[in-house]
């Protein structure tokens, strides 16, 4: 009766094989929690992490008699999002009731928008890394936006018991703090033509959307906190290179609540492989929702979802239509931030990065954080080095974001400054970063605590240099003879003797000084 959290792995086909024979079609639905101070239809606070059921009132609890009032700030955010997604903005639209029973939905209908969304018919150009490792320029893929509409979030159910789901739970707890938080649902048109790059496109789209929403300042876009949630619809159709667009779509599945960029890519990839296996076996794909399991990297069946799901939508009679004036909309258009792609080109120029370097930065999802780090005083080169180096490696290995490890732009700027001042050398700086990652404090605190500081006293260094020269007379002779690169071995000895706490550049200077050919 109870299902385990991971379920049973399904048969899958190798990805390359799957995409060689099938054309993936995706539809991405992203829910964004707006960072308005108050809820969509009442004055309750929206603070994340408050004690359960402390941010509620008659309206968001759906008490008898309570009525909604639209949060104008949320409408403004919705319009700005629509404009940033190159959408048309409705000059008149209504809310609608989506009727279904669920304990975390106080009114047993969700106030949403149905056939009259506030924004529709847009697109977002997303960049996917150039193919291969040779630094090809990024490829631009246009994702068409069907609509962006306003709605309210539901409460949050916690099912207590072994199953962790509503079925088989001993009891369930509901926190209505989240009920009524403003959401914008952004729905793409079917994404076709991505072929084997479909998983990357999905990830790039959600990433680009996240960057855009962050730049708009309308949401915290924290996937791990659920303020940005992605449902990925996927279907496969046979490949027919002659007339691919005329091949009808296959049956889709909807993988719910995929909550990191990496998971979006993995989930789409997994579903492609699974669908292919189902189709290969001559079976029909079941139209259903799927649950994504981060730990095992697979999806399991959720509830059946038919096109005939009947939510009995009708226009919300408790609200008046929203009719943004053209003037207001144009005023909001003027507040839009620079489009992310254009911004990236500008930043690349400002920072003096090569195309390859910029590609690494984009792939690491580090554009914003480098911008913040440079603003905090770091050199562009230093900022890039740290964020795309150790932190990116770690993020990639753990399937997380570079900003997930407790290292802030201020930390990196401080670290970069310490290197620039000559207080730390490179290997010491790496150790300091480890300390920061371990939660030992700021770079200065870590360096002090660990006693990491380059020796500035030349006398100790000079002694070490002399000792190294004395110990390796043959190497010294080579250097004297003009083979400057041989000095490296001596520098190594000096650094070893100094236990790493020396400025390698200064050691090199001293060695060359002493071994310069007589004039």
């Amino acid at each position: 009766m109870t299902t385990t959290s991971t379920g049973t792995p399904a048969r899958v086909v190798d990805f390359d094989d799957a995409v060689a024979r099938f054309d993936p079609v995706m539809g991405l639905e992203v829910h964004v929690e707006l960072s308005t101070a108050t809820k969509m239809f009442c004055g309750c606070a929206t603070t994340f992490g408050a004690d359960p059921n402390t941010q509620v009132c008659p309206v968001c609890l759906g008490l008898p008699g309570a009525l909604p009032v639209v949060n104008e700030g949320a409408v403004e955010s919705a319009v700005r999002i629509g404009l940033a997604l190159n959408c048309r903005i409705a000059d008149w639209c209504r809310f609608a009731r989506k009727n279904y029973f669920y304990p975390d939905m106080p009114k047993n209908f969700q106030t949403s928008q149905y056939d009259e969304p506030i924004a529709f018919d847009g697109y977002l150009d997303v960049e996917i890394p150039g193919a291969g490792d040779s630094g090809e320029p990024p490829e631009v893929f246009r994702v068409e936006i069907e609509r962006a509409h306003m709605e309210e979030d539901t409460g949050k159910s916690t099912h207590v018991g072994t199953s962790g789901r509503i079925h088989g739970a001993d009891y369930s707890l509901v926190d209505y703090n989240r009920a009524g938080i403003p959401l914008i649902e952004i729905v793409t048109k079917p994404i076709t033509g991505a072929g084997e790059r479909a998983p990357e496109v999905a990830r790039a789209y959600v990433g680009a959307l996240r960057d855009l929403l962050r730049a708009l300042g309308v949401s915290d876009v924290r996937m791990e906190q659920g303020s940005l949630r992605c449902d990925a619809n996927l279907s496969l159709r046979p490949r027919d290179d002659a007339a691919q667009q005329s091949v009808p779509f296959g049956t889709r599945t909807e993988t719910k609540n995929v909550n990191s960029l990496r998971s979006v890519e993995r989930a789409v990839r997994y579903e492609i492989c699974r669908h292919a296996a189902v189709l290969d076996a001559g079976q029909a794909v079941v139209q259903e929702t799927r649950h994504w399991h981060e730990d095992t990297g697979i999806t399991t069946a959720g509830r059946p979802k038919s096109d005939a799901d009947d939510y009995r939508y009708f226009p919300e009679p408790d609200l008046v239509p929203v009719s943004p004036s053209a003037e207001w909309v144009e005023g909001l258009r003027a507040t839009l931030p620079e489009p992310p792609a254009q911004r990236r080109r500008r930043l690349q120029q400002d920072w003096g990065y090569s195309d390859l370097e910029m590609r690494d930065v984009v792939n690491a999802g580090a554009v914003e954080v480098i911008e913040d780090t440079v603003a905090a005083g770091a050199t562009p080169a230093g900022a890039r080095k740290w964020w795309t180096g150790e932190l990116a490696r770690r993020a990639n290995a753990e399937g997380r974001e570079v900003t997930d490890f407790g290292v802030t732009p201020a930390h990196v700027a401080e670290l970069d400054g310490m290197v620039g001042e000559g207080r730390l050398n490179d290997s010491m700086a790496r150790q300091v970063l480890e300390g920061v990652l371990a939660g030992e404090g700021t770079p200065t605190e870590v360096a002090d605590a660990r006693g990491l500081r380059m020796v500035r006293d030349d006398s100790a260094l000079e002694e070490a240099v002399d000792a190294a020269i004395a110990a390796s007379p043959d190497v010294a002779d080579k250097v004297r003879g003009g083979k400057v690169q041989a000095a490296g071995a001596l520098i190594g000895q000096v650094m070893k003797q100094m236990k790493g706490q020396a400025d390698a550049a200064r050691a090199r200077e001293l060695i060359l000084e002493r071994l310069s050919p007589p004039e």
Binding site: P58, P103, P106, H167, F314
Partner: protein, 529 residues
Amino acid sequence: MTETTTPAAGEELTRLTAAAMADRLTAGELTSEQLVHAHLDRIERLNPVLNAYLRVDAEGALATAREVDAARAGGEQLPRLAGVPVAVKDIACTEGLVTTAGSRMLAAWVPPYDATVVRRLREARMPILGKTNMDEFAMGSSTEHSAFGPTRNPWDLDRIPGGSGGGSSAAVAAYLAPLAIGSDTGGSIRQPAAVTGTVGAKPTYGGVSRYGVIALASSLDQIGPCARTVTDAALLHEVIGGHDPMDSTSIDAPVPPVLEAAGTRDLTGLRVGIVSELTGEGYQPDVQARFDEAVAQLREAGAEVVEVSCPHFRYALPAYYLILPSEASSNLARYDAMRYGLRVHPEGVDRPSAEQVMAASRDAGFGDEVKRRIILGTYALSAGYYEAYYGQAQKVRTLIARDFEAAFEQVDVLISPTAPTTAFRIGDKAEDPMAMYRNDIATIPANLAGVPGLSVPAGIAGDGLPVGVQLLAPATSDERMYAVGAALEARLAAQWGGSGSVLDRAPDVSALVDAFATTASSADREVTA
């Protein structure tokens, strides 16, 4: 120091109009505490049989009364109706006081907040006597669908007081309150007013905040005053009306000057239209006769009366019975036993799921009429039926609104009988929902179009029961119906003599109640013997 009054003097007090009570309070001839006591005494005697009130808040009403008296004694400037008691239909949330909407589902529900209309009564410093009976969730035209027993018509205890707001109208008609709050979705203020010989107004949609009033059909519901005179209704209308930021559909404009209009006597130059679709066939002959006499009175008061046609009104009833259940099915979805209200564990189920608890609770908590309308509405909104039912009904609604617009290009006010019949007997239409629905034929168009309507007494039919006429005005021109209603009321009063109230000609309700109690207890004795 408690002020006392003799029972007879108390009876006299309850017969004053609200305006007269306010004047005497202001003049210091009367205290609010005396007034409240007088009403509480009468409620105690008559309500056990009438069942107009579901709950009486003696303590709360007296506390407000004493505060008002003290404030007045201290020379404080008070609102006009300060100290005048009022009853509230049990559909409006009252903080700390059980609010049931006439349903078992909410039999013990105590709202944590006041409806805006209740807050305005408190701000006007009016003692709230209690909560009045109603058809469950305001679905009905007789108050028989209350989960807590029917209210009896003070004119004839075997008859219905109208519905859904039969409790409020019966309370006002039986002098158990000078004023009451009602709600009108398809006639629930006006039809009870007509069949109890009282005055009831449904303001323009959005004229009075719906915040905190338990929703039946959001696009049709409107809150309004119940009273014994047009002036009293206007006084209460001005207290409760006006913009409320908590209700998005509330009109952001001042309350129409209804009180001033209630002083109108001369109708010279006013054009009044008889709605041809709302007279004649289907109307009880003496209802039609009282209506015709009322029209004659308006002519004598100087009005120019013509007949106008509103051809789409014939589709009003079917459109209404699609829109109302559709919205209601959604509005009533929240009663699922999860957060508040009745919770029933299904029998024979060891560990019921949330869904099973919801189903069992809704089955036990809702009465048949509510279930009937939830099923109708759920069906009408379903995929594949939406366009044919809800969609078509909305088109009819637009056509009805256009009929009103066209009519109001020709005339200033429309007139019709309020209800096709006088009060029917309790139980008469219990088995025939369609017959019950047809009772609202004349009142429903106003709700569909959002225009205001007022019912005023027009006299007594051959069966000894009161008849009402309905005046309809264009949206936001509520004052027009008050003007015509006041002029008609004044002319009829002059004709009838006495206090001028049709209620003067009602049987003595105390005697009826005593006789009823005796019969009932002797019947009990016979049964037990």
